[in-house]
Symmetry: C2
Subunit: 230 residues, 2 copies
Amino acid sequence: MDLNTIKVIAFDADDTLWVNETFFRDAEIAFAKHLLDYGDEEDIVRMLLDTEIRNLDTYGYGIKGFTLSMLETAHRLMGDKMNAETTAFILDKGKQMLAEPVEVLPHIEEVLEELSKKYKLVVATKGDLLDQERKLIKSGLIDYFHHVEIVSDKKETQYKKLVKHLDIEPQEFLMIGNSLKSDVIPVLAMGGYAFHIPFHTTWTHEQVDDEINHSKFRALTNAKELLDIL
Amino acid sequence: MDLNTIKVIAFDADDTLWVNETFFRDAEIAFAKHLLDYGDEEDIVRMLLDTEIRNLDTYGYGIKGFTLSMLETAHRLMGDKMNAETTAFILDKGKQMLAEPVEVLPHIEEVLEELSKKYKLVVATKGDLLDQERKLIKSGLIDYFHHVEIVSDKKETQYKKLVKHLDIEPQEFLMIGNSLKSDVIPVLAMGGYAFHIPFHTTWTHEQVDDEINHSKFRALTNAKELLDIL
């Protein structure tokens, strides 16, 4: 693998730089427990996930859309019994999530410090800009990055736009992230490099089971391995 | 005014390219009317605006945060009486707003067509990316723009980052928008050009009453005047 062409390295944010899915999983469980009179935990979580996926085109990704989907799911479950207490519980849960401290993943800081000496680093995320910028500041990682690229989705089209926007060629671009579906497959498809670092929890909607065999792909087990390769 | 240095023109999106505030004003009134048992219209609208402003740091700008602020305001007003009907009404109102057709403002299309021949045009907005990209596609204006810049706020710091990101000097940048506070004052402060085109409704939170007297500023009454100047 010839890595000498790489000029810009883009990092996914949530669950690549810092913990994120854990907060959503915890919130789902708290939500289900609040509504146990209306179904068992597993069914309620599945119903919430179903609502989230149906709302993706409308709400996009992020905590605000998730909060609205929790409210909609509660209404589907409770019908006319939906009350002030449940609404307030969900609104509070959303605000708590937005206020969570940022937990940077292992080795990330030392890896960014080294890589920022040789490459232009950017964050490429489909989250909410305000939310992601806040996390970047709280994480203490902001100075390692040239800027944050918010993309409305992570498909080949958006990566092509991103590369054009960065004024580089696809083979000068490396994406690093925890999602094969969002961070790896579309980047390889447009001719860029993509390295996968899995996070212990990956959202059901993001899972791709295929094995990947590609000259511009590397599967890593943790961020530190980046320093052996780049 | 020497306009020959200008290379990139950034347009604000909401209420500069298309109608937006009107939808929020209509939603506020519908919200207040739904809650007339709990206060008069004016007081309810003021209470909602107060909630929105207190939530700006948490939710940022956009329809999802506005929907969450409507829910919070209803809960403040109704207390334990907040019911399924009101929650569903507000969730529906938010989704309706997200699905509104885009109404492009007068002269915008012909102005963009002309200006795109001489300048690089971008959209600079602090809205939600998914929402703004959807509006740009629906509006039919997307091909006139090089890309969309989402900024977390429109202060001098963010404009400096934007200009750096565009790889130009402040005096090569012109911002066009309907808000003196967000589109004009911070741009002039960093040394860029800024033209103001007012929209008939401007959010109370955005109003600035000072007169502006600056060599790089122009006050226009409609978009068509741009073609006489640029």
